[in-house]
Amino acid sequence: MINLVDLRLDLVGAAGQVSILKGVDLQVPAGSAVSVVGPSGSGKSSLIAVIAGIERATGGQVVVDGVDLATLDEDGLSRFRRGRLSILFQSFHLIPTLSALENVAVPLELMGRRDALTRAADALAEVGLAHRVDHYPGQMSGGEQQRTALARAIVTEPSILLADEPTGNLDRANGEHVMDLVFDLRKKLGTTLLLVTHDAALAQACDWTCRMEDGRIVTPPDSWSNPSSAGQVLAGAPA
C-alpha cells in the first residue's frame, strides 16, 4: 500500500528553487498495478524517487507499506528498502564491476541471505539469462542489462516494485520482452507495481493509469482501464 498526502517536492538547482511536485494525493492498494503517464518534466520520476525514499519530500506525507518515510533517517530508508521495495531504472544502474550474478545477488546479500547466489542464478534463469551469469554489464546488450536489473528487482520478492520508464532505453522487441516478464512476475508474486512510462500501450496494461502534468496528478475518467476501482486508487484527484 502506498499512501501519498499533499506530497510536495522542491529542489534547488542552478536556476534557483524549483517546485517539482505540487501537492500529490495518491493511494495505491497493495497488489495493484498503476501506471503514471505524462509529459517530460511533469514529475513522474520524482514521484517514484520520493516513494522509494531516494528524494525526501519537502511537504506532505509519504506512507509506504505502512511506514511513514519522514520518520526514517538515511540508513533507516536503506533498511526499509531491503527486500520490501525494488526499483527498475530506465538506465539499468547495474554495478559495472560486478558480474550479472553478483549484481542480482547484492540485495539478498544485504539482507543476509545465505542462498543469495543460488537464488540470484534462479532469478537470472527466470529472465532468460542463465547463460550470462558471469558477464559484466559492459559485456551485455541493453536488453540483457535491463533483464538483469529486473532479476535484481524481483529476486527479493518485494511487496512493491517501482519501474521508471524501464523500456525507455530498449527497442520495441526488447521492451516488450522485459515488460512481459514484469507483468508475469508481478502476477506470480502479487507485487504492487507503480510504472512510469511514455508508452500508452504499456500504461493500458496496468490496472489503472494516472496522468501527471506540472507536478500534479490530473486523471481524466476515460483513462481508467478499471473505473470501478478508481475510488480505491485515487483520492483527492480532480473529478
Partner: protein, 845 residues
C-alpha cells in the same frame, strides 16, 4: 606532418586547454615533486663541488702537503726545491690517550682515547681555526696548552681551564675546538680530537720508536708560484722518497669520490620518486583523454588524422609537463636553499649560493621525458580511438592499433629516460645500474601486483558480499588498483630497501661484530712493555688476549722492480699503495687464512726477506710466487720475494690481519711496536682502559665499541639523508593513490547511490571502502616489502658481504602503516560521498 597542419594542432591543443589545468593536477604534482627532488639533490651536489673547489687549499692545509709515517719529514728530505718565500710546517697525527684527575667508580683516573694532532707555529698555514673562547691558536697552545673537541669535556668530567695528563706531562685545556681546516688529511684516530703543539707532544714522551704516527709537512707557496710545477719537482727530486706528496688538484677528486657517491644514492632515491610519480602521470593523462573520447572521435570524424590527434594531445602533455618541470625547478631551488638550516655535520662544507642552471635543467629534461614515457600508452590509445566510439562508447574500451609500434615507442622511451637518468646521476655507472634495476623492479612490481590482485579477486569471488564488493573490485575492469599497488609498492620498496640495508648494517655493527671481534685493540705497545701489559691484564681475570702481533709502518714502493708510480695496479688493490700500511711478521702461518699458492717458510728460516701476500691484492699487483715487492720501511728500501699467497682476508671478522706478512729476520730489527687484541666483558672495559692508561700512558686503546659507534653515526647520517629523499617517493605514491581515488570518484559515487537504493547503510558502504583500500595498502606493502627485500638482500649479500638481517617488526610496522594510511585515505575520500543524496547521482546516469 605538413607545416600548415602544425598551427592547427597547436591551436587546437591550446583551445582544448582553455578550460584550465584542473584535469592535470595529478600530473603537475607528481612531476613537480620528482623534478624538485632530483633538482634539489643536483643543486646541493653542485654547490658542494664548488665549495670543495673554493676551499681546496684550506681542506688540504696548504698548496702542497707531503705525508709519511713514523718519523717527521725534514726540510732536508724534501731537498732544495721550494721557491723562496715558501713556508713549510710539520703536523703530527696519531692516536693518544689522556687521563683526568676525576676518578672513575674503581677509584682510578678517568681515561679517554683521543685523536691527537700536533702542530707547529704558525698553524694553520691556510684557513682559520675557530675556538671557544675565541683565543688565538698560538696563545691557546703555548706552554702546554691544548684545545679539545667539546665531547672530551663531559667524558673526562673536566672544563676549559682544567688539566689533563698526556703521556708524562700535564696539559691545560685552553679552549674548545669548533672548526679547523685540513679536513681531508684523513681520520687520524678513534675518539674526539685534541690539538697540542708539537713541543708539548714531544715533551709528553709518547713519541716512542715504532709508534703509529703520521707526519705531514704542509707547504704554502708564495703568491704566483706554480704549485703543480713545484709538486712535480718534489716528486722528481725524491723518486724513492718515503713520503707521498699531494697537491690541491688531487684533493678534489678524492673528496669527489665520496660526495659523488653519496649524491648518486640521493639522486637514485629522487629518481625513484619521479618514476613512482610517473604512474600518477600515466593515470592523469589517461583520465584526461578518457574524458575527451567523444571530442577525439568527433575530431576524427571531421577529418583529423590519427597522427594529428596524437600530436594535439602530445603537445598538451608536453606543455603541462613543461609547466610542472618549471614548478619543480622552483621547488628544487627552494629545497636546496633550505640546506642552510641543516645541522652543519650533515653538510660539512660552507655552501654559499645553491643556484646553478645545469642541475635544474637536467632534472627538468628528465622530468619531461618521464612524463612523455608514462603518457605514451594513453596518447597512443587516443591516436587509435575508433570513430565508432562516437556511436558506441564501448568501442573505445578495446585497445586498437599495432602493438609493435607501442612496444617500439615504450622501448625508445625507456632508453631515453634511462640514459637521462644515468647522466643525471653524478656517477653515471651507478645511475645506469639503477635504471636497469628500476626496469627489472617495474616488471617485478607489475607482475607481482597483477598476481596478488588476481589471487585476492579470485579468493573473494565466492566470499560474502562485504569481501566481494570490496576485494573483488580490485581486479575488475576499470579498476585503478594495479597502478596504485605498483606506485605505492614502489615507494614502499624503496623505503624497505633503505631500511633493510640499514638494519643489516646496524645488526652487523651492534650484534654480529661485537660477538666475534675483540673488545679493545691496544696499539703502540713497546716491546719492552709487553710484560707490564700482561701484568695489568692479569688483574682482570675475565679479560683475555685474542691476538698479539708485532707491527711497523711501511709503504709499498715498487712491484716487480718497477716504481709504484709506473706499476699497473688494479682498482681493488690501489688502497694498499695510497699511504703507509702496517705490516707484520711471523714464523708460523696464520690459522684463519689458508694458502692458495706457494709454501710457508720453515719456522727457523733466516734468509733474505720473504713475504706472504693476500691473494686478491697479489692479483691487483699482478704478482705471483717468486715475484719481488719493494717496501720503504722507515726510509730504508727492503725488497721481499713473494713466498706464498693467502686466501682473501675476511675483514668483517675484525681480527688483526695484515695484507703483507714477512718472514722473521731482517724486518724484525726495525723499530716496531706490538698490537694486542683483547676481549673483556663490557662492564670491565672502562676499568681496564683506565688501569692500562695509568700503567702505560703511551699505549693507546682502540675501543671497538667506540669504533662501531662512530661508524654507526656516519651510517646513520647517510641513512637519514637517503631516507629523507626516499620519503619523497612515499609522497609520490600517496599522490598516485589520491589520483586513482579521484579518477574512480564518479564510479564510486554511482555505486554508493545504487547500493543505498538496494538497501545498504552508510556503515555497510564505509566498511566496504575501508576494506577495499586497506587491502590495497596491504597488497602494496606485500609487493613493496618483497621487492625491497630482494633489492636489499642483493645489496647486503653479494655487494657488501654481510648477513641480511631485516627487522621483521619494522617491516610489519611499515605494512601496518601502509594499511592504516590507505584505509584512512579511502575512508576519508568515501565519507563525503556517503553524505551525497542519491537522486542527483542516479539522474546523472
Amino acid at each position: 606532418m605538413s607545416a600548415s597542419r602544425l598551427p592547427f594542432t597547436l591551436s587546437f591543443a591550446l583551445r582544448d586547454l582553455r578550460g584550465g589545468l584542473q584535469g592535470f593536477w595529478l600530473l603537475l604534482l607528481c612531476l613537480a615533486l620528482g623534478v624538485a627532488a632530483i633538482g634539489a639533490v643536483g643543486l646541493l651536489s653542485a654547490a658542494v663541488d664548488r665549495a670543495v673547489a673554493r676551499d681546496a687549499r684550506a681542506l688540504l692545509g696548504g698548496d702542497i702537503v707531503v705525508e709519511a709515517s713514523g718519523e717527521e719529514i725534514t726540510a732536508e728530505e724534501l731537498g732544495d726545491v721550494l721557491p723562496p718565500g715558501s713556508i713549510a710546517r710539520s703536523t703530527l697525527r696519531m692516536s693518544g690517550l689522556v687521563t683526568s684527575e676525576t676518578l672513575n667508580e674503581a677509584g682510578n683516573p678517568r681515561s679517554l682515547a683521543i685523536s691527537l694532532k700536533g702542530v707547529e707555529d704558525p698553524w694553520p698555514l691556510v684557513g682559520t681555526v675557530t675556538l671557544d673562547p675565541p683565543l688565538a691558536v698560538e696563545e691557546a697552545l703555548a706552554d702546554g696548552g691544548v684545545v679539545v673537541e667539546r665531547g672530551v669535556l663531559p667524558r673526562l668530567g673536566v672544563e676549559v681551564g682544567d688539566r689533563l695528563n698526556l703521556g708524562d706531562r700535564q696539559v691545560t685545556i685552553r679552549a674548545v675546538l669548533i672548526d679547523e681546516p685540513e679536513r681531508v688529511q684523513g681520520i687520524y684516530g678513534i675518539g674526539p680530537r685534541v690539538i697540542a703543539s708539537l713541543d708539548t707532544i714531544r715533551a709528553a714522551g709518547i713519541l716512542l720508536p715504532g709508534a703509529v704516527t703520521t707526519w705531514t709537512r704542509a707547504i704554502a707557496l708564495p703568491p704566483g708560484a706554480d704549485a703543480a710545477a713545484v709538486l712535480a719537482t718534489i716528486r722528481e727530486a725524491n723518486p724513492s722518497a718515503r713520503f707521498r706528496a699531494r697537491g690541491i688538484e688531487e684533493i678534489q677528486p678524492q673528496i669527489a669520490r665520496f660526495t659523488d657517491r653519496l649524491a648518486s644514492y640521493l639522486t637514485i632515491a629522487a629518481l625513484a620518486a619521479l618514476l613512482t610519480g610517473g604512474i600518477g602521470i600515466g593515470l592523469a593523462v589517461q583520465g584526461w583523454l578518457v574524458q575527451r573520447r567523444a571530442g577525439i572521435a568527433t575530431l576524427k570524424a571531421l577529418g583529423a588524422t590519427p597522427r594529428q590527434v596524437l600530436l594535439v594531445y602530445a603537445l598538451q602533455v608536453l606543455l603541462v609537463a613543461t609547466i610542472a618541470a618549471l614548478l619543480g625547478m622552483i621547488g628544487a631551488y627552494g629545497l636546496a636553499s633550505m640546506s642552510a638550516f641543516l645541522p652543519p655535520d650533515l653538510i660539512p662544507f660552507a655552501v654559499d649560493g645553491v643556484f646553478d642552471p645545469w642541475p635544474l635543467l637536467r632534472a627538468a629534461l628528465l622530468g619531461i621525458a618521464t612524463a612523455l614515457l608514462f603518457a605514451a600508452i594513453p596518447l597512443l590509445d587516443a591516436r587509435d580511438l575508433p570513430v565508432a566510439a562516437l556511436l558506441r562508447p564501448a568501442a573505445a574500451e578495446n585497445r586498437h592499433g599495432d602493438w609493435k609500434v607501442r612496444v617500439l615507442v615504450i622501448a625508445l622511451g625507456v632508453l631515453v629516460v634511462g640514459g637521462l637518468a644515468s647522466l643525471t646521476t653524478p656517477r653515471p655507472e651507478i645511475g645506469a645500474v639503477f635504471a636497469l634495476a628500476a626496469l627489472a623492479a617495474a616488471f617485478l612490481l607489475t607482475l607481482l601486483g597483477k598476481a596478488v590482485l588476481a589471487l585476492v579477486g579470485r579468493a573473494a569471488k565466492n566470499g560474502p558480499l562485504v569481501l566481494r564488493l570490496s576485494l573483488a573490485r580490485l581486479n575488475r575492469p576499470g579498476s585503478t588498483a594495479l597502478p596504485v599497488v605498483v606506485a605505492t609498492g614502489t615507494a614502499l620498496s624503496v623505503l624497505a630497501t633503505v631500511l633493510f640495508v640499514q638494519q643489516s648494517l646496524e645488526s652487523e655493527l651492534r650484534n654480529a661484530l661485537p660477538e666475534r671481534a675483540p673488545s679493545v685493540v691496544f696499539i703502540d705497545i713497546q716491546p719492552n712493555q709487553a710484560e707490564t701489559f700482561d701484568r695489568v691484564l692479569a688483574e682482570f681475570p675475565d679479560a683475555s688476549i685474542q691476538q698479539r702481533a708485532p707491527v711497523l709502518r711501511a709503504r709499498v714502493s715498487g712491484i716487480k722492480g718497477k716504481p709504484i708510480e709506473e706499476a699497473a695496479i688494479g682498482e681493488n688493490a690501489r688502497w694498499t699503495v695510497r699511504r703507509d700500511r702496517g705490516l707484520s711478521w711471523t714464523a708460523t702461518p696464520p690459522d684463519n687464512a689458508p694458502l692458495v699458492a706457494g709454501e710457508w717458510w720453515p719456522p727457523d728460516y733466516a734468509g733474505p726477506p720473504l713475504v706472504s701476500v693476500e691473494d686478491e691484492i697479489a692479483i691487483g699487483y699482478g704478482v705471483g710466487v717468486g715475484d719481488k715487492i719493494s717496501f720503504n720501511v722507515l726510509g730504508r728500501q727492503v725488497e721481499a720475494t713473494v713466498a706464498n699467497l693467502r686466501r682473501e682476508i675476511d675483514w668483517s671478522r675484525a681480527r688483526i690481519d695484515f695484507v703483507f706478512l714477512f718472514s722473521p729476520g731482517l724486518i724484525d730489527k726495525a723499530p716496531h711496536t706490538l698490537i694486542a687484541a683483547v676481549r673483556v666483558p663490557p662492564g670491565q672495559e672502562s676499568a681496564l682502559l683506565d688501569a692500562m692508561a695509568a700503567a702505560l700512558p703511551n699505549v693507546t686503546p682502540i675501543s671497538i665499541t667506540e669504533v662501531t659507534r662512530q661508524v654507526g653515526d656516519v651510517l646513520g647520517k647517510i641513512g637519514f639523508a637517503v631516507q629523507a629523499v626516499a620519503s619523497v617517493t612515499l609522497g609520490a605514491g600517496l599522490l598516485v593513490l589520491l589520483g586513482a581515488l579521484a579518477a574512480s570518484r564518479r564510479q564510486r559515487r554511482h555505486q554508493v547511490a545504487l547500493m543505498k537504493v538496494l538497501g545498504a547503510t552508510r556503515a555497510d558502504l564505509l566498511r566496504h571502502f575501508v576494506i577495499e583500500h586497506a587491502a590495497t595498502g596491504f597488497l602494496s606493502a606485500l609487493v613493496g616489502l618483497l621487492v625491497g627485500g630482494i633489492a636489499a638482500f642483493l645489496l647486503v649479500g653479494p655487494f657488501m658481504n654481510l648477513t641480511f638481517t631485516p627487522g621483521l617488526v619494522s617491516a610489519a610496522a611499515l605494512a601496518l602503516a601502509a594499511v592504516v594510511a590507505t584505509g584512512l585515505v579511502g575512508a576519508l575520500s568515501t565519507w563525503r560521498l556517503l553524505a551525497r543524496p542519491i537522486a542527483p547521482v542516479l539522474r546523472g546516469g
